[in-house]
Amino acid sequence: MNNRWKDYDSSSFFDELLTSNGNPRMAARGIVKFLKDLSEDELDERRAAAELAIRDMGISFTVYTEGGNIDRNWPFDIIPRAITAKEWSRVSTGLKQRSRALNCFIDDVYNKQKILAAGIVPADVVLESTNYKPQCKGVSPRYGAWAHICGSDLVRNKDGKFYVLEDNLRVPSGVSYMLENRELTKRVLPELFENYSILPVDDYPSQLYKTLASLSPQLKRKPCIAVLTPGIYNSAYFEHAFLAQSMGAELVEGSDLFTDDDDCVYMRTVDGPVKMDVIYRRIDEDFIDPEAFRADSMLGVPGIMRAWKAGNLAIANAPGSGVADDKVIYAFVPDMIRYYLKEEPIMESVKTYLCMIDKDREYVLANLDKLVVKPANESGGYGMMVGPHATPEKRQEFAELIEKNPRNYIAQPTLSLSTAPTYIDHSVEGRHLDLRPFILQGKDVWVTPGGLTRVAMVKGSLVVNSSQGGGSKDTWIVESNK
C-alpha cells in the first residue's frame, strides 16, 4: 500500500470507483486493491505497455491521418471504470425503452403525425427543423425502426443517477474504441480478469450483423450487406473498415454502387452487378443521394433514396432519423415514452429550457451564469457555453444569440459530472467522464454491455469529446460473484 491515493478527492463529486469516504465501491474493489498494491514503477510499466500496444494497434490510425485531421493516438487511461450488472440492467432497460419511443416518434412524424395532432410535441418545432426531411414522408421501414444504431450520451450526476444527455441518431461513432479499449486492458492488466466476472463486449459486430440482416427486404438468400463509407480520409474510416471486416460485409464507397431502372441498388463486382439488400451508411444523409439531397455530393449514390422508398433496400440509419436527434426534441422524449408506450420513463433526462418558449427564455437569460447553453443541433461539443465557467462577455454574446434565434438554443442546469481515478503523470487524480452506450434496433433491441467511457483529461474540464482533447477508459459491467 502506498500513499498515492491519500489525497484523492472522492467527496466533491460522485466518484465511479470510490465512495465519498474513500472506500472502494462494490464493483471496483478488485480494481482498487490491485492498483493500490502496485508500485509507481509497476504502474508506469503498465501504462508504457498500453502506449506501446496503442502504437502497434494504432498503425492503422497514424497512416490515415496524413490528410491531417485525426489524433494519432487516442489518450487511453489504464484504470477501468466499473458498474455493477444490477445497476446496468436498469440503465439498459431504460435505454431500450427510450430507443423504442424515439423510433415510434420518427415513424409517426413521417407518417400519421399523431403526436403533433395531439399537441404533445409542437408541430412547428418538428416540421420547421432542418433535421426533418420531407423526402422521407410516407416511408415505413420494417419494424417501424428508423434509428437502428443509436449512441446515447449518459452522464452521472452528483446524486449518483445516470442521465441521458443526448441521443445520437445520425451516424454515431466510437464503438470501435469501445472494443479496442477492452483489448488493451486485457493486454495490460490481465491479472484483473481472474477475479472478476466482466460482461464481454466483443459480441457487438455479430449483434450489428443480426440487426442489419433482420432489415433485409428479401428472405430467400443470405442478405448482401455493405458499410458505406465516405472514404479513407474520413476520421472514422478505421471504424468503418473494422466493422465491415468483422461482420463479413463489404466496405463500399458511393462509386461502388449504382441504382438501376428497376429501383434496386447494385454493387459493381468483377462478376457483374450484385443486388444490395442492406446498407449501413456512415455518410451523413445530406450526402447520400444527390438526386434527393445535396446535388453537389460526390460521396453518395444517385437514386439510392428511390430504392429505399420502393422497399428494395434497407438503409441504416434510415434517412430522416435525425429528426429526433435535436436538443429541442430531446425535451419531449419523456412525453413520447408516455404517449407511445404508455410507460413511465426509466432513464432520467436533464431538465431542459427551450428558449423558444417565452417563460423558459426569460429564466435562461436571467440565469446564464448557472446554465449550460447549447445550440439545438450541433454535435461534438461545438458552439456551447458552460455558464459558470464563461466570461461576462461570452454570456452577453450568448444572450444576443438566444434573442436572435430562440428556436436554435436550449439551456440546462450545469450537471456535476461524476469522476473516476485516472492515472495522470505519476499520480492518480479524479477526472470527469461520460458514457456512450450503443443501442441496436432491428427486429429486437439490444444494448452494449457498458459502452465507450470518455474522459476529460484536463483537470476540472467537462468536455470529453475526442475532437477536443478527451480520452477514454475501458468500461466494465461487473457481475457480482458472491
Binding site: V63, A241, S255, F258, T259, R268
Partner: protein, 316 residues
C-alpha cells in the same frame, strides 16, 4: 464470394507496382554491375536505362544530362517518374491501404515498412556506395511480400487479380528489356561482341535467368539465343511466354473473359512464330513494338471488363 470491382482494381495495381519496383531494382542493379565491367569506349551510356521505361520526355523535363547521378536519382528516388522505385512502392502502399481486409494481415505492415524504409533511404542510396545494398533490400522485401501473398492467399478473386497484375507487369518489363538491349546493339556503329555478351548477360542476370540459360543453352551468351530464351522459355517464370500462359490460366475462371483471352492467345501465337535468329534487329524492334501493343490491349481489356463502372441501362 464475389469481389468489388474497385477492390480488384486496387489489388491489380498493387501487384503491378510491387512488380515494377522489384523489376526496376533488378534492372538497375544488373546494369550498374555491367557498366563497371565495360571497357572504355563501349558507348553504352546511362540513357539506355531511361529508354527502357520510355521515360525520355519526363527525364528531360527535370534533368539535363544523362549521367549516372541523374539517371539513378530518376530511377530510384524521383517521384515524378512513375516507374521509380520510390514512386512504385508508395503507389503499392496506397493500394494496400484500402484493401487490407482482403489481404493477409501482415501484408499491410510489410508494405508500410517497405514504404517507410524507401522514403528514408532512397535519396541516400543513389551513389554507388549504398546503391547495391538498397536495391538488394528492395528486391528481397518485394519477394517477401509476394511470398507472403502466394503462400497464404485463398485461390480466389483476390489472388487472381494480384497474379494478373504481377504477370502483366513482368511481361511488359521483359519485352522492354529485350527491345532496348537489341536497340543498344543496333545503335552502335562498330560491332563489339564482347560488349554484347556483357550486355545480354546482365539482362539475363536482371531476370535471375543466367544460370538457367547456361544449363539450357550453354555458357556463351549470344544476343539471338538470349532473346529467344527470354521470350520463349516456358519453364522460366520471368519469360514472356511463361507470363502469358499464366495470364491465360488466371483469366480462365473469370466471367466475361472472352476479349482478354483472345488477346492473350493471339499474343502467344505470335510469339510461337518468333525466332530472333531469322530476324534483323530492325525487324525485331518492329516485332516488339507490335507485341507491346498486345500488352497494352490486354491491360485495357482487363480494366474495361472488370474494373470500370458497369454499363447500366440507366443513364449515370
Amino acid at each position: 464470394m464475389t469481389m468489388l470491382s474497385s477492390v480488384a482494381e486496387r489489388l491489380y495495381w498493387m501487384a503491378r507496382y510491387l512488380e515494377r519496383a522489384e523489376n526496376t531494382a533488378r534492372l538497375t542493379s544488373a546494369y550498374t554491375h555491367m557498366i563497371l565491367d565495360l571497357p572504355r569506349g563501349a558507348e553504352l551510356g546511362w540513357q539506355l536505362l531511361v529508354d527502357i521505361f520510355d521515360a525520355d520526355p519526363v527525364f528531360r523535363k527535370h534533368y539535363r544530362a544523362f549521367n549516372e547521378q541523374n539517371v539513378l536519382r530518376f530511377l530510384i528516388a524521383d517521384m515524378n517518374n512513375f516507374s521509380s522505385i520510390n514512386y512504385a512502392i508508395k503507389a503499392a502502399r496506397e493500394n494496400v491501404r484500402t484493401t487490407r481486409d482482403v489481404l493477409p494481415e501482415e501484408t499491410w505492415e510489410h508494405v508500410n515498412e517497405l514504404h517507410i524504409h524507401c522514403k528514408d533511404v532512397a535519396e541516400k542510396s543513389i551513389g554507388r556506395r549504398h546503391r547495391y545494398e538498397f536495391l538488394e533490400q528492395i528486391i528481397s522485401r518485394c519477394q517477401m511480400i509476394n511470398g507472403l501473398l502466394m503462400t497464404t492467399l485463398c485461390r480466389d478473386h483476390p489472388h487472381r487479380f494480384i497474379k494478373l497484375g504481377h504477370l502483366l507487369e513482368r511481361a511488359d518489363m521483359t519485352t522492354r528489356i529485350i527491345d532496348v538491349g537489341a536497340g543498344a546493339i543496333l545503335g552502335r556503329e562498330n560491332n563489339n561482341p564482347a560488349a554484347d555478351t556483357l550486355l545480354w548477360s546482365s539482362m539475363l542476370q536482371s531476370m535471375s535467368a543466367i544460370s538457367a540459360y547456361r544449363k539450357k543453352i550453354g555458357p556463351i551468351v549470344e544476343p539471338d539465343s538470349a532473346v529467344n530464351f527470354i521470350f520463349k522459355e516456358n519453364t522460366l517464370p520471368r519469360t514472356v511466354t511463361y507470363c502469358l500462359n499464366g495470364i491465360l490460366e488466371e483469366l480462365e475462371p473469370l466471367k466475361n473473359n472472352e476479349t482478354a483471352r483472345e488477346i492473350a492467345e493471339s499474343a502467344l501465337r505470335k510469339l510461337n512464330r518468333f525466332d530472333a535468329q531469322k530476324m534483323t534487329f530492325e525487324q525485331m524492334h518492329h516485332f516488339i513494338d507490335q507485341f507491346q501493343l498486345y500488352i497494352g490491349d490486354l491491360d485495357e481489356s482487363i480494366t474495361n471488363t472488370w474494373f470500370l463502372p458497369m454499363p447500366t441501362t440507366s443513364s449515370e
